[in-house]
Symmetry: C2
Subunit: 267 residues, 2 copies
């Protein structure tokens, strides 16, 4: 690790200029990996390749992230923050040797990335696992926090949803609060959908909300209940790289460019 | 196509002996592809590789399908019926050039297979897309027909579920019956889960229930409503190979063995 920095997310112009300055101060740069919040445009053939698509972050919808770094004239691999984290965990952490491997983060939002056949999964766009629609608990009157889907997984189980449903920050809810039973149930339903579609042997489950004591064990137990023995239950594990899964994943994305695996590179 | 036959599914001993007789009558056989109902064991390292796992079909739980054909001493590729159909459509039908490509069949049960990076998707086991848990419609009092999950996609929207909920065979329900509004809603919720996890540009949607006039168009419209513009809506298309997707998929599986892509072969 030659150098490290952190830049606040303000406006695209200001933030991306600070990122560019960082790389200019650390030449030579051989390649860049970007693990970016999304949804993003990963289609090399698209006029808006490398841009942010829709986002509730003010000013960032349509921002040209890859374009801002093109003046460095190096290969750039661009992917979602969660695909980056999944790749980091797959290469150096909790997902070594596991394929397909899925990484899900539960914080302000909920996102999931997947590595299939060694490569971050893309398609029409990219996975948006936080927006899977799950059955609401019959006792849960909360309408859901997602502006698009209401009660999708993110709408029911993100930190924002917890805060709004219970009128308190998640970290202030004691371990026996009913919030955690419901939270484990919703996360298990989301992981069950991922299991039904992708069948990963192991899923990494991280993000700020997962720091709640006992939550991981409750999610594991609830997932086994939800799957009901029809198919085997995947292992649910904490990230081995902790908070650094994303940034190490971005380095792994940059290495893919150097290894000639520039699946969505741009100069 | 050198020869073709159809064998009724009675007991494993009787059915598999008839299959073996067919191949013995048509030597030389270079390789065999099996697209089998499931769940099945696809793990080459497992003592029960090539066996059926759980199934409600009497007598078939634990049946050794691959073992029954081992005496032919040719490479055998074994996969689910829906992964086979997905591969057939990917190679010769509605999924040509599409990756990931998903094929979902709606009949007595509901199943989905996926081709990712050109290969049928496996993991801990294999996709079981029919068993994704979806939100129940608030006006639907039917408990669900799945013995494992009650109201999963298959439990709410298979032909068996339709028959039990409405007390009539699906093909007898007229086009304006409320059954079809609900059916389109449930199928769209299942396809939305697949989209959130795998992001396929196109999904093939077949099986007996999809022959209902106007249902495909209703599913397409409902899927766009459910996804709510957050990410792009995949194309939903009928299978190009019709009833033959599965059997042609099995031929494609056999060809993978001949091409040296024996991802789960056994002699």
């Amino acid at each position: 690790m030659r150098a490290e920095t952190s830049v606040p997310t303000t406006t695209p112009a200001e933030t991306l200029a600070a990122v560019l300055d960082f790389f200019r101060a650390h030449t030579p740069v051989a390649a860049i990996g970007i693990a970016c919040f999304g949804p993003i445009d990963l289609d090399r053939g698209s006029a808006t390749f490398g841009h942010i698509a829709t986002t509730p972050k003010p000013g960032w919808a349509g921002a040209d992230v890859v374009g801002a770094l093109r003046t460095l004239n190096v290969p750039i691999v661009f992917d979602t923050d969660v695909n980056g984290a999944a790749l980091g965990e797959h290469r150096w952490g909790a997902g070594r040797g596991v394929d397909p491997f899925v990484y899900v983060t539960v914080g302000t939002g909920i996102g999931g990335g997947a590595i299939v056949a060694g490569t971050p999964l893309h398609g029409l766009v990219h996975p948006e696992m936080g927006h899977v629609l799950i059955p609401r608990d019959p006792d849960d009157a909360f309408a859901g926090a997602c502006p698009y889907h209401g009660s999708c997984l993110e709408g029911l189980a993100s930190a924002v949803a917890l805060q709004r449903r219970w009128g308190a920050a998640p970290e202030t809810l004691h371990a026996e609060h009913d919030a955690w039973r419901l939270q484990a149930r919703y996360l298990a339903l989301g992981l069950a959908a991922i299991t039904a579609v992708l069948s990963p042997p192991r899923i990494g489950l991280g993000g700020g909300v997962m720091r709640a004591p006992g939550l991981l064990a409750r999610v594991r137990a609830e997932l086994a209940t939800v799957l009901a023995g029809y198919v085997r239950t995947p292992e649910i594990v904490p990230p081995a790289l902790g908070e650094r899964a994303g940034v190490l994943g971005a380095i792994a994305l940059g290495q893919m460019a150097l290894d000639g695996r520039e699946y969505n590179s741009a100069r």
